[in-house]
Symmetry: C2
Subunit: 371 residues, 2 copies
């Protein structure tokens, strides 16, 4: 049974990738601005209002400079040497809204664009670029009360080390006395515990939802899902046991001992994106006494047969991008609903297996939790 | 007066740089191990027990690959093409103990080593390498209770945005009721609010000091000192006013409102490294009613004439590396002592204007604060 579920998850998270929007636009508007995730003071890479990205790399004596973004992954964008000795190039189409990882190939070696901040993905710190999205307001840094993202180092006897987690606490947590529910939120393969804050803006999404009165505050805990212990092609060989032990036997007790949590099953959720969804599915099914809310974001599906005791599941959230396999999410939602399970599905319009899908998914999922 | 002080500070922080230990060793021991700040799973760069660093860069079609570390900054280390098409090279001498920034020049362009984590320095995210130090235990991740490093976003009307700070809270803070003193701790030019945690391990230094019973716990607040608004050569033109406003009028009230602090002058310290020391000096002298403990780490000196009212200063800490200008620190210490001011000086043996000096300085300074 577990093998079959793994296959479903695998299919879901290899069909994504960097996709271009379909309609090619005939003229490129010259309204390029620096990407918002550039390093301080860096002009390039730039993006225009249509979603084209333009790169500039200084490497005067190089023979070949190529950026991995572009053409749906088939070779990316080849840069050309400009008069000043720099290398420049523009994607041959507008890119999907939101965040994209990329890297720069200089004479056969993979490097980062010195212009951008780095984000952990593909088991390396990668360059990132942000294509302005029509709905970017929900994850924008706004003048509202802000929660905090805390780094904690928790003891992990099972792995023989102190492990890192990040904990989002909502505005007012520090000086208040309230206890809060907790969402355990996992990243995908190749990423780590920094992804949901850095790429996902989970903290800003929460701040904005709370400021708008759309959710009751809760904590989010993000730790490394030990996903990268297997190579991407070997995800089938992944064993959930070591991470399940860290999460359930070590991290959750640490959080409940050190934060003001509502430490009951009814006030605990787990969700994850991509391979983090696969982990969420396995752990929530293995440990139905621990979590009441489950979320798979581009990360597999539950079937009615998976749910042994409907009364233990308060709500299931399933989502993916419209450029992934939305029909799978919709069908799973219908089947779960028909079986009397409380489920919500969400399809992120115009996005693929990327963080814009998951930012939107968190925004949609958060108001459903801990009702 | 202010101009003269600036000059002293400037001299102090341009005399540093990456230095080799004097004694050249005749044979290179082949006991190289991956640097501890490599990206997960990356073998290179490596360091040996003598302090040599060895680099490996993949760029098969490049004509020239050079690493900025080596020969005291005069050209760094030129890598040679190996049989497998990679570029390899070893520094021509052992490097100072501790952390060093570096970058890789590929055919005339400045990139990061894909093998290492990135650290913000020189106004860019740079590669970093860690040379094992004989005293590294004091900043090691050990099996002791760990405090937390929290990211806060505080409102800053004077700059029209939310600004980021990191706050170290000691073990037990979350569930406790105690109030704590606060150290405001500044980075140097080219760095930002991430430096003291990432490069400095300030949190681990505190955890270890607390576990050993050597200090009473306090909070550390680290924010961006707006140092990089001026180019390195133009530091003389830097105005302290914008940052002083952010720190004193915005950040301190926010911290006192949102954390359990002892919000009095006697329980507040400010210290900084390099240009952060210059800022510390100016702000502590401009605002004697705000701070009682002052620390300049390779960041200028106080003279007795600077201190208008001795009764307002509980303790001054001055430090630098033995490869900087230790005689200046020692002389300033003697003059302040002779003038009846409570002062401690510290010289970090065998280190230059780099983070090992400042890690050690924090370790020496922390027990002196808030007595």
């Amino acid at each position: 049974m577990k093998v079959k579920l793994l296959q479903i998850a695998l299919i879901t998270f290899v069909t994504g990738g960097l996709c271009f929007v379909q309609a090619q636009q005939s003229t490129i508007k010259e309204d390029f601005k620096p990407s918002t995730v550039n390093q301080p003071g860096q002009e390039y890479p730039m993006v225009n209002s249509q979603g084209y990205a333009r790169f500039k790399i200084i490497a005067p004596a190089a023979d070949s400079v190529r950026v991995s973004l572009g053409l749906g992954g088939r070779g990316g964008t080849k840069l050309s040497k400009a008069a000043d000795g720099s290398w420049m190039g523009t994607t041959d189409g507008p890119m999907d809204e939101g965040f994209h990882y990329y890297n720069v190939n200089i004479d056969g070696g993979k490097f980062n664009d010195p212009g951008t901040l780095n984000f952990y993905g593909s088991v390396r710190w990668e360059s990132g670029i942000e294509i302005p999205a029509h709905d970017q307001d929900f994850y924008a840094l706004k003048n509202v009360p802000h929660g905090q993202v805390q780094q904690v180092l928790f003891p992990s006897p099972s792995t023989g080390t102190s492990r890192r987690a990040f904990v989002y606490t909502p505005p007012g947590y520090e000086k208040g006395k309230d206890k809060y529910p907790v969402l355990y939120l996992q990243h995908g393969w190749g990423e780590d515990e920094t992804a949901w804050s850095n790429q996902g803006h989970a903290n800003l999404i929460m701040d904005n939802l709370i400021a708008d009165g759309k959710i009751k505050p809760f904590l989010i805990v993000m730790t490394y899902g030990m996903t990268n212990e297997v190579k991407f092609g070997k995800i089938r060989e992944f064993s959930i046991v070591p991470f399940q032990t860290v999460l359930v036997d070590e991290l959750i007790p640490y959080i409940d001992a050190n934060f003001r949590t509502l430490a009951t099953k009814d006030k605990r959720a787990m969700a994850g994106l991509s391979m983090g969804g696969m982990e969420t599915k396995q752990i929530t099914l293995n440990k139905p006494e621990v979590f009441s809310y489950y979320g798979l974001l581009s990360g597999g599906l539950y079937t009615p047969a998976d749910i042994k005791d409907k009364s233990k599941v308060k709500h299931i959230f399933l989502s993916c991008g419209s450029k992934e396999r939305p029909e799978g999410v919709q069908k799973a939602g219908e089947e779960l609903k028909a079986a009397g399970i409380n489920v919500t599905t969400y399809i992120s319009e115009g996005t693929a297996h990327e963080f814009q899908t998951w930012r939107r998914s968190l925004y949609q999922m958060a108001p459903l939790l801990f009702k």
